[in-house]
Protein backbone atom coordinates (compact mmCIF):
# COMPACT_ATOMS: atom_id res chain seq x y z
CA UNK A 1 0.00 0.00 0.00
CA UNK A 2 2.87 2.36 0.69
CA UNK A 3 4.17 1.75 -2.81
CA UNK A 4 0.95 2.94 -4.45
CA UNK A 5 0.84 6.03 -2.25
CA UNK A 6 4.36 6.94 -3.28
CA UNK A 7 3.66 6.41 -6.98
CA UNK A 8 0.60 8.64 -6.97
CA UNK A 9 2.18 11.17 -4.62
CA UNK A 10 5.26 11.41 -6.82
CA UNK A 11 3.08 11.90 -9.91
CA UNK A 12 1.14 14.67 -8.20
CA UNK A 13 4.24 16.33 -6.79
CA UNK A 14 6.12 16.10 -10.10
CA UNK A 15 3.12 17.61 -11.86
CA UNK A 16 2.92 20.46 -9.37
CA UNK A 17 6.62 21.24 -9.60
CA UNK A 18 6.35 21.01 -13.38
CA UNK A 19 3.57 23.58 -13.32
CA UNK A 20 5.83 26.04 -11.53
CA UNK A 21 8.92 25.43 -13.61
CA UNK A 22 7.59 25.00 -17.15
CA UNK A 23 7.72 28.02 -19.41
CA UNK A 24 5.35 26.90 -22.17
CA UNK A 25 1.71 27.25 -21.17
CA UNK A 26 0.61 24.00 -22.83
CA UNK A 27 3.23 22.07 -20.89
CA UNK A 28 1.94 23.73 -17.74
CA UNK A 29 -1.51 22.41 -18.53
CA UNK A 30 -0.18 18.90 -19.12
CA UNK A 31 1.70 19.01 -15.82
CA UNK A 32 -1.55 20.03 -14.17
CA UNK A 33 -3.12 16.95 -15.76
CA UNK A 34 -0.42 14.81 -14.17
CA UNK A 35 -1.12 16.43 -10.80
CA UNK A 36 -4.86 15.80 -11.16
CA UNK A 37 -4.36 12.16 -12.13
CA UNK A 38 -2.01 11.62 -9.21
CA UNK A 39 -4.54 13.17 -6.88
CA UNK A 40 -7.30 10.95 -8.24
CA UNK A 41 -5.16 7.93 -7.42
CA UNK A 42 -4.59 9.30 -3.93
CA UNK A 43 -8.31 9.70 -3.40
CA UNK A 44 -8.74 6.06 -4.41
CA UNK A 45 -6.16 5.08 -1.81
CA UNK A 46 -8.02 7.14 0.80
CA UNK A 47 -11.12 5.02 0.10
CA UNK A 48 -12.91 8.09 -1.30
CA UNK A 49 -13.86 6.48 -4.60
CA UNK A 50 -16.64 8.87 -5.49
CA UNK A 51 -14.41 11.91 -5.04
CA UNK A 52 -11.74 10.28 -7.14
CA UNK A 53 -14.12 9.63 -10.01
CA UNK A 54 -15.70 13.10 -9.73
CA UNK A 55 -12.18 14.55 -9.86
CA UNK A 56 -11.50 12.65 -13.08
CA UNK A 57 -14.79 13.51 -14.75
CA UNK A 58 -15.18 17.14 -13.68
CA UNK A 59 -11.62 18.33 -13.13
CA UNK A 60 -9.56 16.36 -15.63
CA UNK A 61 -12.30 15.85 -18.20
CA UNK A 62 -14.06 19.21 -17.85
CA UNK A 63 -12.12 22.01 -16.21
CA UNK A 64 -8.81 21.00 -17.72
CA UNK A 65 -10.36 20.72 -21.19
CA UNK A 66 -11.74 24.22 -20.67
CA UNK A 67 -8.29 25.49 -19.65
CA UNK A 68 -6.63 23.84 -22.65
CA UNK A 69 -9.30 25.40 -24.88
CA UNK A 70 -8.50 28.78 -23.40
CA UNK A 71 -4.81 28.15 -24.02
CA UNK A 72 -5.45 27.18 -27.62
CA UNK A 73 -7.57 30.24 -28.26
CA UNK A 74 -5.06 32.69 -26.82
CA UNK A 75 -1.69 31.32 -27.83
CA UNK A 76 -0.36 31.88 -31.30
CA UNK A 77 2.31 29.22 -31.67
CA UNK A 78 2.57 25.89 -29.83
CA UNK A 79 6.03 26.67 -28.49
CA UNK A 80 5.67 30.33 -27.47
CA UNK A 81 6.37 31.36 -23.91
CA UNK A 82 6.32 34.47 -21.77
CA UNK A 83 9.34 34.94 -19.53
CA UNK A 84 9.46 36.47 -16.11
CA UNK A 85 12.19 38.69 -14.77
CA UNK A 86 14.80 36.84 -12.71
CA UNK A 87 14.36 39.15 -9.71
CA UNK A 88 10.66 38.42 -9.40
CA UNK A 89 11.23 34.73 -9.89
CA UNK A 90 13.72 34.63 -7.03
CA UNK A 91 11.42 36.56 -4.71
CA UNK A 92 8.48 34.29 -5.52
CA UNK A 93 10.48 31.10 -5.04
CA UNK A 94 11.90 32.35 -1.73
CA UNK A 95 8.41 33.20 -0.52
CA UNK A 96 7.28 29.75 -1.54
CA UNK A 97 10.19 28.05 0.16
CA UNK A 98 9.64 29.92 3.41
CA UNK A 99 5.93 29.13 3.36
CA UNK A 100 6.66 25.49 2.63
CA UNK A 101 9.12 25.31 5.52
CA UNK A 102 6.56 26.81 7.88
CA UNK A 103 3.81 24.43 6.74
CA UNK A 104 5.98 21.34 6.86
CA UNK A 105 7.36 22.28 10.23
CA UNK A 106 3.89 22.73 11.57
CA UNK A 107 2.65 19.43 10.14
CA UNK A 108 5.58 17.43 11.44
CA UNK A 109 5.51 18.82 14.95
CA UNK A 110 1.77 19.01 15.56
CA UNK A 111 -0.03 16.31 17.48
CA UNK A 112 -2.74 15.18 15.08
CA UNK A 113 -5.87 13.71 16.70
CA UNK A 114 -6.11 10.59 14.59
CA UNK A 115 -9.33 8.80 15.49
CA UNK A 116 -8.44 5.16 15.98
CA UNK A 117 -11.97 3.91 15.32
CA UNK A 118 -12.20 5.48 11.90
CA UNK A 119 -9.60 3.38 10.11
CA UNK A 120 -11.69 0.23 10.45
CA UNK A 121 -15.23 1.47 9.95
CA UNK A 122 -14.30 3.86 7.18
CA UNK A 123 -13.56 0.84 5.00
CA UNK A 124 -17.12 -0.42 5.28
CA UNK A 125 -17.70 0.27 1.63
CA UNK A 126 -21.06 -1.22 0.66
CA UNK A 127 -23.38 1.69 1.38
CA UNK A 128 -20.91 4.56 1.36
CA UNK A 129 -22.18 6.03 -1.93
CA UNK A 130 -25.73 5.77 -0.66
CA UNK A 131 -24.70 7.65 2.49
CA UNK A 132 -23.14 10.37 0.34
CA UNK A 133 -26.34 10.73 -1.66
CA UNK A 134 -28.46 10.80 1.48
CA UNK A 135 -26.25 13.47 3.02
CA UNK A 136 -26.34 15.61 -0.12
CA UNK A 137 -30.12 15.50 -0.21
CA UNK A 138 -30.56 15.55 3.56
CA UNK A 139 -28.16 17.44 5.78
CA UNK A 140 -26.57 19.36 2.94
CA UNK A 141 -29.66 20.09 0.85
CA UNK A 142 -29.38 23.88 0.99
CA UNK A 143 -25.74 24.01 -0.18
CA UNK A 144 -26.65 21.50 -2.90
CA UNK A 145 -29.45 23.69 -4.24
CA UNK A 146 -27.30 26.80 -3.92
CA UNK A 147 -24.54 25.09 -5.90
CA UNK A 148 -26.99 24.31 -8.69
CA UNK A 149 -28.12 27.95 -8.73
CA UNK A 150 -24.48 29.05 -8.83
CA UNK A 151 -23.83 26.76 -11.79
CA UNK A 152 -26.83 28.17 -13.64
CA UNK A 153 -25.65 31.73 -13.01
CA UNK A 154 -22.12 30.82 -14.10
CA UNK A 155 -23.41 29.22 -17.32
CA UNK A 156 -25.41 32.27 -18.26
CA UNK A 157 -22.69 34.69 -17.18
CA UNK A 158 -19.86 32.92 -18.96
CA UNK A 159 -21.92 32.56 -22.14
CA UNK A 160 -22.70 36.28 -22.06
CA UNK A 161 -19.13 37.32 -21.25
CA UNK A 162 -17.59 35.20 -23.97
CA UNK A 163 -20.04 36.19 -26.64
CA UNK A 164 -18.55 37.80 -29.72
CA UNK A 165 -19.54 41.46 -29.79
CA UNK A 166 -20.30 43.22 -33.05
CA UNK A 167 -18.35 46.51 -33.11
Amino acid sequence: MAGLFYIFALTAAAGAVGVVLSRNIVRTAVCLLAALLGLAGLYFSLAAEFIAVVQLVVYAGGTLVLIVFGVMLTARVPTAHLDIKMRELVIALCTGAVFLAVLWGGILTADWPVAKASTGAADAQPYRIAKLGEALLGDYLVPFELASVVLLVVMIGAAYLAKARRK
Binding site: A48, V58, L82, V114
Partner: protein, 117 residues
Amino acid sequence: MMMLAGVNLVSIGLQHYLLLGALLFVCGLATILTKRNAIGILIGVELVLNAANLNLVAFNRFAHASAGGRPLLDGEIFAVFVIVLAAAEAAVALAIFLNFYNNIATIDVEQGTALKG
Protein backbone atom coordinates in the same frame (compact mmCIF):
# COMPACT_ATOMS: atom_id res chain seq x y z
CA MET B 1 10.39 0.51 10.28
CA MET B 2 12.05 3.41 8.52
CA MET B 3 11.65 6.95 9.77
CA LEU B 4 12.61 10.18 8.11
CA ALA B 5 12.38 13.38 10.12
CA GLY B 6 9.92 11.79 12.49
CA VAL B 7 7.65 10.45 9.75
CA ASN B 8 7.12 6.75 9.25
CA LEU B 9 8.05 5.90 5.68
CA VAL B 10 6.31 2.52 5.46
CA SER B 11 2.97 2.95 7.14
CA ILE B 12 1.08 5.78 5.46
CA GLY B 13 -0.78 8.05 7.82
CA LEU B 14 -2.40 11.47 7.95
CA GLN B 15 0.90 13.37 7.95
CA HIS B 16 1.95 12.04 4.56
CA TYR B 17 -1.15 13.41 2.88
CA LEU B 18 -0.84 16.72 4.72
CA LEU B 19 2.79 17.11 3.65
CA LEU B 20 1.87 16.45 0.04
CA GLY B 21 -1.05 18.86 0.30
CA ALA B 22 1.26 21.55 1.63
CA LEU B 23 3.67 20.98 -1.26
CA LEU B 24 0.86 21.26 -3.81
CA PHE B 25 -0.41 24.42 -2.13
CA VAL B 26 2.99 26.09 -2.23
CA CYS B 27 3.50 25.07 -5.85
CA GLY B 28 0.16 26.63 -6.71
CA LEU B 29 1.12 29.76 -4.80
CA ALA B 30 4.44 29.98 -6.63
CA THR B 31 2.62 29.54 -9.95
CA ILE B 32 0.26 32.39 -9.15
CA LEU B 33 3.22 34.59 -8.27
CA THR B 34 5.44 33.76 -11.22
CA LYS B 35 3.26 33.28 -14.29
CA ARG B 36 2.67 36.11 -16.72
CA ASN B 37 0.12 34.19 -18.74
CA ALA B 38 -3.32 34.73 -17.21
CA ILE B 39 -4.25 31.11 -17.77
CA GLY B 40 -1.10 30.08 -15.91
CA ILE B 41 -2.42 31.98 -12.91
CA LEU B 42 -5.71 30.14 -13.24
CA ILE B 43 -3.82 26.85 -13.26
CA GLY B 44 -2.12 27.89 -10.02
CA VAL B 45 -5.48 28.61 -8.45
CA GLU B 46 -6.68 25.15 -9.47
CA LEU B 47 -3.61 23.60 -7.81
CA VAL B 48 -4.35 25.45 -4.58
CA LEU B 49 -7.95 24.22 -4.60
CA ASN B 50 -6.78 20.66 -5.22
CA ALA B 51 -4.39 20.86 -2.28
CA ALA B 52 -7.29 21.95 -0.08
CA ASN B 53 -9.37 19.05 -1.39
CA LEU B 54 -6.64 16.58 -0.54
CA ASN B 55 -6.51 17.94 2.99
CA LEU B 56 -10.27 17.68 3.37
CA VAL B 57 -10.45 14.09 2.17
CA ALA B 58 -7.41 13.02 4.21
CA PHE B 59 -8.85 14.48 7.38
CA ASN B 60 -12.18 12.83 6.64
CA ARG B 61 -10.45 9.47 6.37
CA PHE B 62 -8.14 9.66 9.36
CA ALA B 63 -9.46 12.12 11.90
CA HIS B 64 -13.22 12.02 11.55
CA ALA B 65 -14.66 9.54 13.98
CA SER B 66 -17.48 7.44 12.60
CA ALA B 67 -20.66 7.32 14.58
CA GLY B 68 -21.76 3.81 15.42
CA GLY B 69 -20.15 2.10 12.42
CA ARG B 70 -21.63 4.51 9.87
CA PRO B 71 -18.96 6.52 8.09
CA LEU B 72 -19.24 10.31 8.43
CA LEU B 73 -18.63 11.90 5.04
CA ASP B 74 -18.52 15.62 5.74
CA GLY B 75 -15.02 16.00 4.34
CA GLU B 76 -15.99 14.30 1.10
CA ILE B 77 -19.07 16.47 0.73
CA PHE B 78 -16.92 19.57 1.24
CA ALA B 79 -14.59 18.23 -1.45
CA VAL B 80 -17.49 17.70 -3.88
CA PHE B 81 -18.62 21.28 -3.40
CA VAL B 82 -15.07 22.58 -3.82
CA ILE B 83 -14.72 20.70 -7.11
CA VAL B 84 -18.05 22.02 -8.36
CA LEU B 85 -17.25 25.60 -7.47
CA ALA B 86 -13.73 25.34 -8.90
CA ALA B 87 -15.23 24.28 -12.22
CA ALA B 88 -17.66 27.18 -12.13
CA GLU B 89 -14.91 29.63 -11.28
CA ALA B 90 -12.68 28.32 -14.06
CA ALA B 91 -15.49 28.86 -16.57
CA VAL B 92 -16.04 32.47 -15.53
CA ALA B 93 -12.31 33.16 -15.33
CA LEU B 94 -11.77 31.87 -18.85
CA ALA B 95 -14.64 33.98 -20.16
CA ILE B 96 -12.99 37.03 -18.59
CA PHE B 97 -9.58 36.09 -20.00
CA LEU B 98 -11.04 35.71 -23.47
CA ASN B 99 -12.49 39.22 -23.21
CA PHE B 100 -9.12 40.46 -22.00
CA TYR B 101 -7.40 38.81 -24.96
CA ASN B 102 -9.91 40.19 -27.44
CA ASN B 103 -9.37 43.71 -26.12
CA ILE B 104 -5.57 43.85 -25.78
CA ALA B 105 -4.56 41.11 -28.26
CA THR B 106 -2.27 39.50 -25.69
CA ILE B 107 -2.77 37.20 -22.72
CA ASP B 108 0.12 38.77 -20.79
CA VAL B 109 -1.16 40.17 -17.48
CA GLU B 110 1.73 42.64 -17.35
CA GLN B 111 0.11 44.45 -20.29
CA GLY B 112 -3.13 44.99 -18.41
CA THR B 113 -2.27 48.51 -17.28
CA ALA B 114 -5.40 50.45 -18.30
CA LEU B 115 -6.36 51.15 -14.68
CA LYS B 116 -2.83 51.95 -13.51
CA GLY B 117 -2.08 55.30 -11.86
